[in-house]
Amino acid sequence: MSENLEQSFVAQLKANQNIIHKICRLYTAGEDAHKDLFQEITIQLWKAYPKFRGDSKFSTWTYRVALNTAITLYRKTKRTISTVEYESHQHFVKDVDYNYEEEEQIKLMYKAVYQLNDIEKALVFMYLEDKDYQEIAETLGISEVNARVKMNRIKGKLKKILNP
């Protein structure tokens, strides 16, 4: 029984691992920290798995547990991200129609997002993942209206960081 549980968990996690990678990318700097957080999220997901009933999608459930682990449970060793680490951390895919100006803007934008606090990052993360405000609000435990207000404030803050 428990082996079956393990098997189904591992298979589902493997298929959904990019969700975790994306969160690690936003909340950590450097490969070691990325792996470390990935492992902690995996452990927390596994610990919570017996309670996973399947009435929500595995991916939806993963978003919640993974974000909670990154924001609340994980003990970060390094808080700030240096430019060097940031550059090496990116995996830019170079297109044929490589647009230098656009690429620069994206880089600056990533840097700006890294300067946000943990909660703001969570909102931006879910926004980038096309989550609706209802899900954002439910995941964080705030009201939908306030989630919208906060997101608008974050946009303002990002603008300020980009054009100081």
Binding site: V10, F52, R64, T72, Y74, L140, G141, I142
Partner: protein, 210 residues
């Protein structure tokens, strides 16, 4: 916001660019130990509860009580001791109950508040014990002063000299304050490093919903 849309486009483009973790690696990971703050809080809390419960055994006043030869005093202290056990059990029960509500599948805000609540339970237990330590040392100071035959010499001396009396009380209070201050610093340090980030994030979340 134009830049945010650009970022989203890039974010999606890179969504599958991560080095994939194999099933074997995932198997290995789920058998590793967590190093989350909840685990640290649990370990520290158990140590705290044990420390205070065990220290109650060591600060035994039996020897002094035998010397005093006042059976009613012994009775009161026995009542106090049993009361203390009941309190310990109540605290352990609430600690366990709150600890069990900590769940990563709840919303972030709820998860944070249940961690803080669990932490608070232990904090109350520590405050209770500190208060009891202060109260019982004051009481035993007076009992010793009034009833203990060994203190007779001291008592006579103090009665003759008012200044010495104040000095004694002053030193006693100073020692208590230093003792409490040390504890306070210790806790600030211990939980400060462990919970600083959690507090900050919790505050931020509460601010959003204000």
């Amino acid at each position: 916001m134009k830049e945010l849309d650009l970022l989203k486009k890039d974010w999606k483009k890179n969504a599958n660019s991560f080095e994939q973790i194999s099933e074997t690696e995932i198997y290995k990971m789920i058998h590793k130990k967590s190093s989350s703050i909840v685990k640290w809080i649990l370990i520290i809390s158990i140590l705290e509860i044990l420390f205070w419960t065990v220290s109650n055994f060591f600060f035994s006043t039996d020897e002094m009580l035998i010397k005093i030869k006042h059976p009613e005093m012994i009775f009161y202290l026995e009542v106090m001791t049993s009361f203390n056990y009941v309190i310990v059990l109540i605290f352990v029960y609430f600690f366990y109950k709150n600890y069990k509500t900590i769940s990563t599948t709840e919303s972030t805000k709820l998860l944070m508040s249940s961690i803080l609540k669990t932490r608070k339970t232990v904090q109350y237990y520590v405050w209770y014990n500190l208060a009891m330590a202060v109260i019982s040392s004051i009481i035993s100071f007076f009992i010793a002063f009034i009833y203990n035959p060994d203190m007779e010499f001291f008592r006579d001396k103090l009665a003759a000299n008012g200044q010495a009396m104040f000095m004694t009380i002053g030193i006693f209070m100073l020692v208590t304050l230093v003792f409490l201050g040390l504890f306070w610093c210790f806790y600030r340090l211990l939980y400060g490093t462990l919970l600083r980030r959690l507090f900050a994030n919790y505050k931020e979340l509460k601010k959003i919903d204000f």
